[in-house]
Every structure is written in structure tokens, then in C-alpha cells.
Symmetry: C2
């Protein structure tokens, strides 16, 4: 484990994207999305992914100088073609379009095709906060999840992010995979040699599994709920809705056709659309009620939920977004801790581009 | 258990609403929403609720001749005040407004305050199907659910319904409480004297419970996920988003202030808004891509998911909406089975209005 200062790590990531051929502003934006994940404690979606983007680019699956364009629109909607660009860059651009439309007609919704992995969904949803808008972001992803009653991997961890402004209180930010547990948590268990709780994964025959390696051995992640008795059909339906909005509505690859993030897996040889898909949206608060009034009530909502009688005095009820904001506060000050295998990846990437990774502390 | 023919049960329910003072068209619509639940096999939200509406009306909490009006709007959004009307009538009217706006600018979103229980969320979402629109419906509800780490009931079972048109295939219709299990399932276990699976409820001290009576004894339903380790913070966040869209955005009562469905519980003495809240939306498919093209891909999506390798050959993977459509097919033909306690309720209601319940078979 090494600890990197935010500023230097950010500059390094930016330099890598520039070396890949991204224009300066795109590189800065892509680095911001990744560093934002690390700051918020979502380590699986931060610089740990950098080498993955580099490998996809080397395979020719990422266009670092894309012509991102609107291919269809109405006053309140658009479809954006990402031209195989980094999702890290395509999604924020699409969210700008959604917010523009929300400014005009109340809400704006943009479906995106021909994109790649877009980092943490929460980043894109949170873009609405400064403009007093509720932000939404969805994406489909590499198929790893079996639907209820199935043993085949048909869906990605397909996250839903919703960001809601408040007044004096910090914003409400939900950013969740539609599975019981995200893949990153399994990787942690694998490293520690610990078992996974029942309800996270199944093995390749579709039986409940606790071995965190079961996923790699042909098993699957389970939809939120874990099994039918505990509502996994709801997690499956949520993941399916995310897939349909992101990919069927936009013209991207859906379900098992979604392109894998890891470059060593082949693309489907019978694609049903273009690249990966996302879906982002913005709702202007004052398209419903005056923003100040809404925020006063959001503050009251948040305060009342914080005051929920807790089961244990040592663990109060949290508001979605609390843990990530807490992590960000600490890491902005004390730096971003990176586990050794990721440090090695960063070093490998640096070597490829004749760069050096920043100094770090133990 | 008695079995009623759809047509006669519908006419009876309509007569009850007329007797309560609803105009003819409103009574027909309200009956349609309730009967639709019974047809679709969602017995907890059909005529079983009729006596509840009658009791609320007798307490003066339901206005059967409301002035439902738009109090704020933009080209793509509106806020509707339901004037204490039946949610069964207010929500479809709001959905019409949402679809009108979607026709004009691509999508339409309507937040509703000052309403009452609106029946099954799926009914309102499915209104978009005939117009090639994706339909959305959300509502908050009587507080029964404890947030993760909490022992207090802060949220309703706050459902999310999404309805997506297909071509040759039947539509994709997800309609789910954001809890592990709906209250209706607990009631079935209570009647049978069976235990609930862990992860559905907790007792009044916040400990996991299997006694289905624990809810009535001060316990709470659990958010989808069941406990923190299995992602209940995600179910909690989803229920919270539904609450905020339905009630904070509209100006209704949110969280623990949401008015109870049962008339014997008092209203909060410090309301934070007006009545119960809903949120409905419509997205025109061809605001994103030609509807025919979309539907062809939806058909392919559905067919591919149906073909998922099953864990067991006896239980294929389902598409959201399959079980309800199957129930509807059977019940339209063979009638609607109603358990004896509900038959007694229907008889009690009939007595109050000088009506008679329809003939039934055993």
C-alpha cells in the first residue's frame, strides 16, 4: 500500500491520457472522473482502472479523439454517439446536453451509444448539483450477472446513480450497482482469502457459492436481493431497466452482447448495436417547485432521517452519499491509498509512455 | 375462498365508488385500477383495499369529487394537486398530462401532492404502452420500513414501476416494492401461521425476525437487500429516492409524515406537506429512436433473456411482467378468487350502501 497526494496522482493520470492521444481538456476531464472515484473511496473505479483503459486503447477499442455528436433529438431528449470515445469523456458531455435541455423544458434525458466504461456513475449524476438539478446516470457493463433462475451471465452490474441537491445539508447521492455486491468487494475478499456471504455469487452450475473465486470460474454475480425469496427478481428487473435505457434506447449493445471491459475477452461477433451504452438525465428542481423551498424540505428530510432511532447507538442511520463524502474529506487531506498491485499497474503504464509515477509515502 | 366473474365484480366496485359520491367516469376508472390488480394477481392491492378507501372517506380524508389541477408547469413537467382525491383517479389523470408533455417535448414528468393511495403502480406506468411510451410510476406510502441501521419506520414500501413496449413480444413491466417482500406476503404467512424468511422483517428492537406478526408488534419491513451485508442500503436508497420524488418534489408529506392508509391511525399533527405524493413519467420512444426499430430490439432482448440457460430445467428465466400477465389470462377466463375475510369486507361495504355483492362460486 502506498499513499499518493491527490494533485500529483491527478497530474500523472492526465499525462497518461494525453500520451494516449486525448486532447488536453478531455484528458483533464477523464482524470477528474477517475480521481473522483479514488477520493470518494470507490477504489475499484479509480486509477485501478487506468491500465484497463490503456489496454482497450491498444486493442483499438477506444478512440481518444472522438467526434462525439448528437444523432437524434427533441427539445427534451437526445441520442449521442460517442464515436468509441472514453465513457469518462462522453458521459459528461452528454450530461451537459441533458442539463441544457432541462434548462429549456424542465428535464433533459440523453441516451448514449458507441461509448466505453464511464467510471463512477455518481460523478455524472452529481454534475447537476451546482445547477439545482436532480441528476441521473445509468450504464450497462460487461456481462457478469445472472438473472433470477438463470446460470448464464446476462447483465452487467448496471449501476443507478441519483444526485439530489439540499440546502444547508450536503446533497443526497445514491450510486449503486444493481447487484448485492459490486465486483470490487469480491476482489478484496479474494486478496484476503476470505469467503463471500451467501447471496453475493453463484457457481457455474447456478448454485449459491461463498468462494470469491467462483465468479472467475464461470459463476455469476447475483442481482440485488440475492435469491428469489429475498427479492432478486427486483434486482434483476432494475439491472434490466438500466440495460434497456442505456443500450436498447440508444442503439448500443445490450445484455450479453455488452462489450467486456477487459481487453483480453473478445467482442461479440454478432453485435446488436454500437459499443457500450449509458443513459443520463437532469431534472430542474424549479420545474416542480421553487428551489429554495425544495432545499428547505430536503434539509428537513435529511435531518429527520439522521435522527432515526438506531438499532445500535454506535451506528447511526446514514444518508446516501455520507460514506463517500467522509472518505473524500480524509483523502483530500491525507492522500489516496493505493494497493501494491495497482501501484505496479500504474508503474507499468508509466513505463509504456516514458512517464514516471509520482512520489508516494508508505 | 369465493370466485367472482371479473365483469360483475367490476360493476359492484364501480357502484361502491358512485355511492361514495364519485362521478361516473371517476368511479369507472377507480374500479378499473382495483380490478386490474386482482386480475394481475396482486391481490393485496385490488378489491381487498376497497373497505380501506371507504373508511378513509368516512373519516373525511378522501374527497370523491376533487378539483384535480396543475399548480405549476413547464413544457416537460408539472405539479398536480389532487385535492384529497382518490389516488386511483388522480394518478391516471397526472399520467395523461405526462404523456401529453412527452408528445410535445420528448418526455413528461408529473409530481403529485395531496393525493391518496393509488393502487398498483404498474397500472399507471402501463398507460404509456399504447402510445409507444416508456411509463414510470412511483409513490410514497404509509411508513412501515426501517432504513439500514435504524429501528424506526421511516419509509413506505415505496414502489417503482417501469413499463416498456415491445413488438411481437408482450411488454416488459416491472412493478416492485423497494422492500425485500411486500406487506401482502406477510399477511399470507400470518394467515397460514408460517414463519417469514430472515431478511424480510425486524422486530421492534431492530433485531432480525421471522415471526410475521413482528411488524404489527412495532417491528418494521426491511429494504430490498435485507441487511447491510446484502445491500439493504441500496433498497433504502431506492425507497428514499421514491419518497423524495413523490413527496419532496411535489409538496406532499414525506418519510414518517406520510399519511397512513388505515383510517384508525391518526394523521401526523405537524404535516410537512399535503396528503400522499406520487411521481409519474412518460418517455416517447421515438424521442430517442424510431419506435419500430426499438421494438425489434426489445423483442430480441426479451427472446435472448428467455433463452438464458436456466439453473433448473423446470424453471425458465422470466421477463418482468410474465407472472402478472399469466395470472390475468387465467383470471379473465375463470374469474377472480377472493379469500373469505375480503369477501366479508365486501359484504360489509355493500351493506353500508344498500348494495349487494355479486354472485360467486366456491
Amino acid at each position: 500500500m502506498k499513499v499518493f497526494a491527490e494533485k500529483e496522482l491527478r497530474a500523472y493520470v492526465e499525462n497518461v491520457f494525453v500520451a494516449m492521444g486525448c486532447p488536453e481538456t478531455a484528458a483533464r476531464l477523464a482524470a477528474d472522473v477517475l480521481i473522483s472515484a479514488d477520493l470518494r473511496g470507490i477504489d475499484s473505479h479509480g486509477v485501478a482502472r487506468l491500465i484497463g483503459y490503456v489496454r482497450l486503447w491498444k486493442k483499438g477499442r477506444i478512440n481518444t479523439n472522438p467526434n462525439i455528436r448528437v444523432v437524434h433529438e427533441t427539445p427534451g431528449t437526445a441520442v449521442v454517439d460517442g464515436d468509441s470515445g472514453l465513457g469518462l469523456v462522453v458521459a459528461p458531455e452528454a450530461m451537459e446536453i441533458a442539463m441544457e435541455k432541462a434548462a429549456n423544458v424542465g428535464t433533459g434525458w440523453v441516451a448514449i451509444r458507441n461509448s466505453n466504461h464511464f467510471g463512477i456513475a455518481g460523478y455524472h449524476a452529481m454534475m447537476g448539483l451546482d445547477r439545482d438539478m436532480i441528476g441521473w446516470a445509468f450504464t450497462n457493463a460487461s456481462p457478469l450477472v445472472a438473472p433470477t433462475f438463470g446460470k448464464e451471465r446476462m447483465l452487467g452490474t448496471n449501476p443507478i446513480a441519483v444526485s439530489i441537491p439540499a440546502g444547508q445539508e450536503p446533497p443526497f447521492v445514491a450510486d449503486m450497482a444493481t447487484t448485492t455486491a459490486a465486483n470490487g468487494k469480491l476482489e478484496i475478499l479474494q486478496r484476503k482469502g476470505e469467503e463471500a456471504p451467501l447471496g453475493w455469487i453463484q457457481d457455474k452450475s447456478g448454485q449459491p457459492a461463498t468462494d470469491p473465486h467462483a465468479l472467475k470460474e464461470g459463476g455469476a454475480l447475483l442481482p440485488l436481493g440475492g435469491d428469489r425469496e429475498h427479492g432478486s427478481h427486483k434486482g434483476y428487473a432494475l439491472g434490466a431497466v438500466v440495460d434497456i435505457l442505456s443500450a436498447v434506447l440508444s442503439g448500443a449493445n445490450y445484455g450479453p452482447w455488452a462489450p467486456p471491459f477487459v481487453s483480453f475477452l473478445p467482442l461479440a461477433d454478432n453485435p446488436v448495436g454500437a459499443g457500450l451504452g449509458h443513459f443520463v438525465g437532469a431534472m430542474r428542481i424549479d420545474a416542480f417547485r421553487p428551489a429554495a423551498e425544495f432545499k428547505t424540505h430536503m434539509d428537513q428530510w435529511i435531518q429527520r432521517f439522521r435522527e432515526t432511532q438506531p438499532v445500535s447507538d454506535s451506528q447511526p442511520v446514514l444518508i446516501p452519499g455520507d460514506p463517500e463524502r467522509e472518505a473524500e474529506k480524509i483523502r483530500r487531506e491525507s492522500g489516496i491509498p493505493i494497493v501494491d498491485p495497482v501501484v505496479n499497474d500504474l508503474r507499468e503504464v508509466a513505463g509504456e509512455f516514458g512517464l514516471e509515477i509520482p512520489d508516494s509515502s508508505e
